[in-house]
């Protein structure tokens, strides 16, 4: 006979404010099979957990229902408590009285009644639970880091320094990401490249790190501890092992007018190129889309001038497959280009720039060697306008969120401008100044007070060009909503940060979830900010949400910590919530008739054929078998099996049907 204990939690007042917890406990006491039913203020507290442990021991419980918050929150807590009292953890279930009841309904009879129904449902389920035992799987102690920006670099170094192997995949010819493009960093104004490049070099030289640049992740199969990643190494057309990085080829390449990605289109590069002087690896690649030889079949100048004879025009793309135990996604972000903004001229005014373009102008390694000059005529702008929230926080533009980094970098830009153009006038149009962070508010104040940057609270409705000037029409809401018109020489738009193109596709490749803006979703917004919903895949940096450098680094280190914890054991235990094909006594052996129509329905190729043989080795029957290492427990096969020969542990036919029956019982 079942001996079920029910533990109703008040969650302070989170549940008890709308649900009469004592009534729920009383009602549950009357359910068949329930031998113990109490309510308590905080079931998850130590005394609360002790109540569960004691009840299991004293009343010899065969199942436990904790009626409290979402199982996505505290299921591990309560299962652990049960386990400590000697009850198999999978004989503990949770009724979600908080997220699914008390928080979403008004106080009243109906709400308490629903709570009782939810408890009844879980009591009926837990009566049918079976003790389950974790599945042990080996762990491959190599991590895959996707993306070589500052987040990826930090994660890779931390994992590698923890003694584990790392494979880093970077799409561009060099690692470094957006941070390598920045001039100075807020709030210290130290040089971005000066602090980044040593890290880049460390990645390249680290014995535990294998670096694949100019490469993309194209497939990921498997599961935590046992992934198989497929990487496409795009042909660089240069033999990296021979190339000395002398860069003679890049000086001789006849294609010299290709807009440089690194310089955000403000400078030019050649077809065989190194994206920037401090690139890692510092070896050129041929951009096939622009190379004269690949386009016309003639040229090969680079091949002629290469002293090491390292050019390989016939080099193919290479697909490598690697076994990894964990993945860190650190693919970063991108920004809207000026063409996104109709009211700011659809990108047709050369002196209307994005924030990243301004970074390149301000950078000593940039196209103007750090002098702020107009792309149109090379003149030093006397008046400059910065516009924050260009696209961000603007539902009409489809971006409701705050891009978070712009307030700070705009203050930095304005400061850098004032430091370089002493007599210049700078204006910042803003909605709010969001400067939360260590020394951040002080930094913005410095821009306003010391560097005399004019902050105007209001939006800019239009920018147009007239006689070589950019007319910026806006409003100053702090000056009686006065219309403001500024004749500027340059305008910098703090355009919204957005997910990388292809982020959605990558998420689908990796089976991780993503939000409506294609940023990858963390497993819990507060408590699991570096994990994804897919075990073994972690997030670092701006691919999850816009964040600045210190936050990206912190999250990357967090992700690396998680990976190192995972790698600290050679075996991993997995929840046994997987599908199982039944087995029975001879002569049937299983009710499975071996039609194998379940095979194509399985997303993990986890269904195998098992031959049942007699003693002489003759095959009597071929039936399906679920490989417990591959099965992820989706249960698609279970719903598909006509003879109901497959069941899924934790969500068995008996359990779910009992839940449905219980929820509709006696009204």
């Amino acid at each position: 006979m079942a001996r079920i204990g029910v533990f109703v939690c008040h969650c302070g007042e989170n549940i008890s404010a709308t649900v009469e917890c004592d009534k729920v406990a009383q009602a549950a006491a009357g359910f068949p099979g329930v031998v113990h039913s109490i309510d308590y203020k905080y079931m998850c507290s130590d005394p609360g957990q002790n109540m569960i442990r004691e009840a299991i021991r004293e009343k010899n419980l065969t199942g436990v229902v904790v009626a409290s918050c979402s199982p996505r929150m505290h299921e591990p807590t309560f299962r652990q408590a049960c386990s400590e009292a000697g009850l198999n953890p999978f004989l503990c279930e949770m009724a979600n009285l908080r997220e699914h009841c008390s928080w979403v309904h008004e106080k009243g009879e109906a709400t308490t009644k629903k709570a009782i129904d939810l408890v009844r449902m879980m009591v009926e389920k837990v009566k049918r639970n079976q003790p389950l035992y974790p599945i042990r799987v080996p762990v491959t102690k190599t991590a895959l880091v996707v993306g070589g920006g500052i987040a990826g670099i930090q994660a890779a170094l931390d994992i590698a320094n923890g003694g584990n192997k790392v494979i880093m995949v970077e799409r561009e010819p060099s690692i470094g990401g957006h941070m390598s493009q920045l001039s100075e960093t807020f709030p210290t104004l130290d040089c971005s490249q000066c602090i980044l490049t040593p890290r880049m070099v460390e990645v390249a030289q680290h014995p535990n790190i294998t670096l694949y640049t100019y490469a993309e992740l194209i497939g990921l199969d498997g599961f935590i501890g046992n992934f198989k990643a497929k990487i496409r190494k795009k042909a660089k057309s240069v033999d990296e092992k021979i190339c000395t990085g002398c860069a003679l080829c890049t000086t001789k390449c006849p294609q010299k007018k290709i807009p440089s990605e690194f310089n955000e289109g403000l400078g030019k590069r050649t077809a065989i190129y190194v994206p920037f002087p401090q690139a890692v690896p510092n070896k050129p690649v041929i951009d096939k889309d622009h190379c004269t030889y690949y386009k016309t079949g003639k040229c090969k100048i680079c091949e002629k001038v290469c002293p090491a004879q390292a050019i390989r025009f016939d080099q193919p793309d290479e697909i490598v497959e690697v076994a990894v135990g964990a993945v860190v996604i650190a693919t970063g972000f991108t920004i809207h280009q000026t063409g996104f903004f109709p009211e700011y001229g659809y990108g047709r005014y050369p002196d209307v720039l994005t924030g990243l373009q301004f970074e390149r102008l301000a950078s000593a390694s940039g196209p103007t060697l750090g002098e702020i000059r107009r792309p149109s005529d090379g003149k030093i702008p006397e008046t400059i306008v910065f516009i924050s929230c260009a696209g961000s926080r603007d539902p009409a533009k489809g971006i409701e969120y705050c891009s978070k980094i712009c307030c700070m970098y705009i203050a930095k830009h304005a400061m850098l401008y004032q430091h370089k153009v002493h007599h210049g006038k700078s204006y910042v149009f803003y909605m709010d100044i969001r400067a939360g962070g260590k020394m951040y508010e002080e930094f913005v104040r410095r821009a306003i007070t010391e560097d005399q940057v004019n902050y105007v609270r209001g939006r800019v409705s239009k920018i147009y060009e007239r006689d070589g000037k950019l007319i910026v029409k806006g409003v100053d809401t702090l000056m009686g909503a006065e219309a403001v018109e500024i004749e500027a020489d340059m305008v910098v738009l703090a355009t919204a940060g957005i997910a990388n193109p292809g982020a959605e596709e990558l998420a689908q490749t990796l089976h991780v979830s993503y939000d409506g803006h294609h940023f990858f979703s963390e497993a819990h917004p507060k408590l699991r900010p570096v994990e994804t919903n897919t075990a073994g895949i972690f997030l670092a940096g701006a691919c999850q949400a816009l964040k600045d450098i210190p936050e990206s680094v912190a999250q990357a280190s967090g992700a690396a910590g998680k990976v190192n914890i995972l790698f600290s054991k050679s075996e991993l235990t997995r929840e046994p919530l997987i599908a199982v094909v039944n087995r029975s006594a001879p002569p049937e052996y299983s009710t499975c008739v071996g039609c194998f129509l379940c095979q194509p329905a399985c997303p993990y190729q986890a269904i195998e054929k098992e031959e049942i043989k007699d003693r002489s080795g003759k095959v009597i029957k071929t039936v399906a078998r679920v490989n417990p290492g591959l099965c992820q427990g989706c249960g698609t096969c279970v719903a598909f099996c006509r003879s109901k020969s497959i069941d899924i542990q934790g969500y068995t036919h008996e359990q779910v049907l009992a839940e449905v029956m219980a929820v509709l019982e006696n009204d």
Binding site: S70, N96, K114, V660
Partner: protein, 151 residues
């Protein structure tokens, strides 16, 4: 009892990763909705057996919600695609049998769509309220006996 307002009984079959989490978010966001709906958790919409829907109606459910991850967002890659095919065919079969498919709401609700979950529940509840209690299906358990008694 006769003058009591009809409060429909609705069972929701949802997947753990998207809609269950989405409904959690509804809670975390304190968005209110009608208490008529009770959620049964499944690992994936792919796990939801069509028989369960029949059992729910047979047991007196007035309405059913089936919800999971949006296409391409399935935690298990394709469980929801399989489920979608299953629902396309099951739904047309039910309709052909004269079973009101208007009592079943099929939906995709992601883990980020707490507000959508609340709206979905409220819409379903008000639609089922308009339709009234669903006794046809439940009653056929007794249909033959009634026929016999009638004669």
């Amino acid at each position: 009892m006769e003058n009591k307002i009809f409060e429909p009984k609705i069972v929701a079959f949802v997947c753990n990763w998207c809609t269950y989490a989405g409904a959690d978010l509804t809670g975390t966001s304190r968005i209110k909705y009608a208490p008529n709906v009770k959620i049964v958790r499944f690992p994936c919409t792919g796990r939801i057996d069509f028989m369960l829907l029949l059992k729910a109606f047979g047991e007196g459910a007035d309405g059913i919600i089936v919800s999971g991850c949006h296409p391409n967002d399935c935690h298990y890659t394709s469980g929801n695609f399989h489920a979608r095919r299953r629902w396309i065919s099951f739904r047309s079969l039910l309709d052909f049998l004269g079973i009101d498919t208007g009592r079943i709401t099929f939906s995709w609700v992601s883990a980020a769509e707490g507000a959508k979950w609340a709206a979905l529940v409220n819409d379903t509840v008000s639609r089922i309220k308009e339709l009234g209690p669903y006794t046809d299906y439940e009653k056929v358990a007794r249909y033959y006996e009634e026929e016999v008694n009638h004669e």
